[in-house]
Amino acid sequence: MLNLLKPPIEAFQEFVLLGIRAFRNIFRSPHYADDIFIQMDVIGVGSLFIVSLIGLFSGIVMALQMARALTQYGAQGQVGQIVSVTLVRELGPVLTAVLVAGRNASGIASELGSMKVTEQIDAMRALGTDPIQKLVTPRLIATAVVLPLLTIISDFIGLAGGYFIATTMLGLTFSEYWTSAWQVLEYNDIAQGLLKPLVFAVIIALVGCFYGMRTSGGTQGVGRSTTSAVVSSSVWIFVLTAFITYVWNRAFAE
C-alpha cells in the first residue's frame, strides 16, 4: 500500500518544488524578458481566435438553453442576467482554461519534453543557465498574464453571442439585454471570474512544464508527457473551480 502511494506523493512533492522554484525565480535575475514576450504571443495571441470562437458559441448556447426555460415563466427579459453571471463566474474562466490547457499545456510539455530527451535541458545547465529560470518562469508569467485577458475577451464575446440570440429570437432590445447583463454583475463576481483564470494559469504552465521536464524514454516519452499534461491540467481546472466556488460562496455568504 505504501509502495503504491509513494510515486504519486513523490511526483506531487516534485511538482510543488518546481512551483516554488519557478515563483522564486520571478524575483531573481537574470530575467528573460524576450522569452516572456514570445510565450505571451504563443499562448495569448495564438489562442485568441479559438478562445473567441468558443466564447461566442458558449454565449449562444447559454442564451438558447435559458430562453426556453425562461419563456415558460415569461421571464425571457432576464436572459442577459443569466448569461452574464454564468459566463463571468464559471463558464468563461473554465472553458478558456480548458482550451488553453489543451493547446498550451500540451505545447509546453512536448517542447520541454523534446528538449529533455535530446539533452538540451542538460546542455542548458551545463552551459550556465537554470532551465527553470529560462523555461519555466517565463511560461508561468506569460500564462498568468494572458489567461485572465483571454478570459475577459471570451466573457465579452460570449455576452455578445447571448445578445445575438436575445435580439433575434427573444425580441429584446440592445439596452434591455446589456443593462440587465451589466447590472447583475457585482464586484464579487468579477473578482471570482478573474481569480480563477489566474489560478488556472499557474496550473496550466506548471503542469505542462512539470511533465515536460520529467520526460524520459525518447519520442514515445514525449507523447506520454503531452497526454498526461493535458489530462492532469484539465482535471485540476475542474477540481479547483469547484473548490474556489465553494470557498468563495462560504466566504461571501450573506
Binding site: T118, E119, D122, A123, M124, R125, A126, L127, D130
Partner: protein, 285 residues
C-alpha cells in the same frame, strides 16, 4: 597542500542508483591535468552518467566528486554554474538548441555563463583588443571547419556537422577539461575519424584534459597513439621512445556501473578479462 590539489577530477567511491538500476557502483579514479581518459563500456554501463556526475548534472547517492580540487557533491546549482564554465561538454545527442542558430548555439556559453561573460566584458571595456564574442564564435567554427553555417539552424545540418557544431560549442570557452559523450556514435567511419581528429587537435593545441566516452575501441586507440602536429596541420602517429600521449592516455572500462579496468593501452591489450577483451575484438584495430 594535499595531493588532491593537482587533480582535475576525482571520484571517491561514487555510487548512483535509479530505482532498482545501478548506474554507478563504487567508482573511484583520479584525473590529472593534461591526461586523456578513454571510457569504454557497453550501452547502459554507466558511461554517460559518469560524465553527468562529473559536472554535477546528476548528484550521486553516495561518495564524493571533486572538480578542479573542489568538492562539488554538495554544491548549490548556482555555484556549480561557475565550476562548469571551466568544462566543455559534447552531449551524445549533440544537445544543440534547435530554436537557436549555429552561431547562437556556439555563443551560448559565452553569453550565459556568468564568469565567461564578465571576463569578455572586462576585456572589451579595458580596450585591450580582446576578442569579442563574435570573433570567438567564428574562430571556434573555423576550428571545426563549419564557418559557413553561422546562420543555419541545427536541423539543417547533417549528423556529423551537428556533432562538429557541438564540439565548437564545447571548445569556445577554452575549457581546462573537455568531456565527449560518444562523439562518434551513429556516424560513418570517415566522419567518425574526422571527429576524433578534431578532438585530438583541441587536446594537443591547448593541452586540455580530455575524457572521451565511447564504445569504439578504435577511437581510444587513435587518442592514445596519434597527436596533432600544429606545424603540418595534420594528425600523425606519436612516435619516439618517449611516446608522451601513450603514457598520458588511460583507458577505463565500465560494466554495469562498475569500473572493471583502469590502465594504459598495452595493459588493456594484455588484459585477460573476458568483458574487457570483448571491446578489443569489436574494435579490431
Amino acid at each position: 597542500m594535499t595531493p588532491g590539489d593537482s587533480n582535475i577530477l576525482r571520484f571517491e567511491d561514487v555510487s548512483l542508483h535509479f530505482d532498482a538500476t545501478v548506474a554507478l557502483d563504487h567508482v573511484s579514479f583520479e584525473m590529472h591535468p593534461g591526461q586523456t581518459f578513454v571510457v569504454l563500456g557497453a550501452a547502459g554501463s554507466g558511461k554517460t552518467m559518469l560524465l553527468k556526475v562529473a559536472v554535477g548534472l546528476v548528484r550521486p547517492d553516495s561518495g564524493r566528486v571533486s572538480l578542479f580540487g573542489q568538492e562539488i557533491t554538495r554544491l548549490r546549482e548556482q555555484d556549480l554554474f561557475d565550476m562548469r564554465a571551466r568544462v566543455g561538454i559534447l552531449f551524445q545527442e549533440g544537445g544543440l538548441f534547435d530554436s537557436l542558430t549555429v552561431a547562437e548555439n556556439v555563443a551560448y556559453p559565452l553569453t550565459n555563463q556568468r564568469v565567461l561573460r564578465q571576463a569578455i566584458l572586462a576585456g572589451s571595456s579595458n580596450g585591450s583588443g580582446a576578442r569579442t564574442i563574435e570573433d570567438r564564435v567564428r574562430e571556434s567554427l573555423r576550428f571545426v571547419e563549419l564557418e559557413e553555417t553561422l546562420d543555419k539552424f541545427p536541423n539543417e545540418l547533417s549528423g556529423g556537422m551537428r556533432r562538429r557544431v557541438g564540439i565548437a560549442r564545447a571548445v569556445v570557452s577554452e575549457p581546462a577539461l573537455l568531456l565527449y559523450d560518444s562523439p562518434t556514435a551513429g556516424l560513418d567511419p570517415i566522419t567518425a575519424n574526422t571527429i576524433v581528429a578534431l578532438i585530438l587537435k583541441e587536446r594537443d593545441l591547448r593541452n586540455a584534459a580530455t575524457i572521451m566516452v565511447t564504445h569504439r575501441y578504435q577511437d581510444g586507440h587513435l587518442m592514445a597513439n596519434f597527436r596533432y602536429n600544429p606545424n603540418s596541420g595534420q594528425v600523425e602517429r606519436a612516435g619516439g621512445g618517449g611516446d608522451v600521449s601513450q603514457v598520458s592516455t588511460k583507458f577505463l572500462v565500465m560494466n554495469e556501473g562498475r569500473l572493471v579496468f583502469e590502465g594504459t593501452e598495452p595493459e588493456l591489450q594484455a588484459s585477460q578479462d573476458a568483458y574487457v577483451r570483448k571491446f578489443l575484438r569489436v574494435g579490431g584495430a
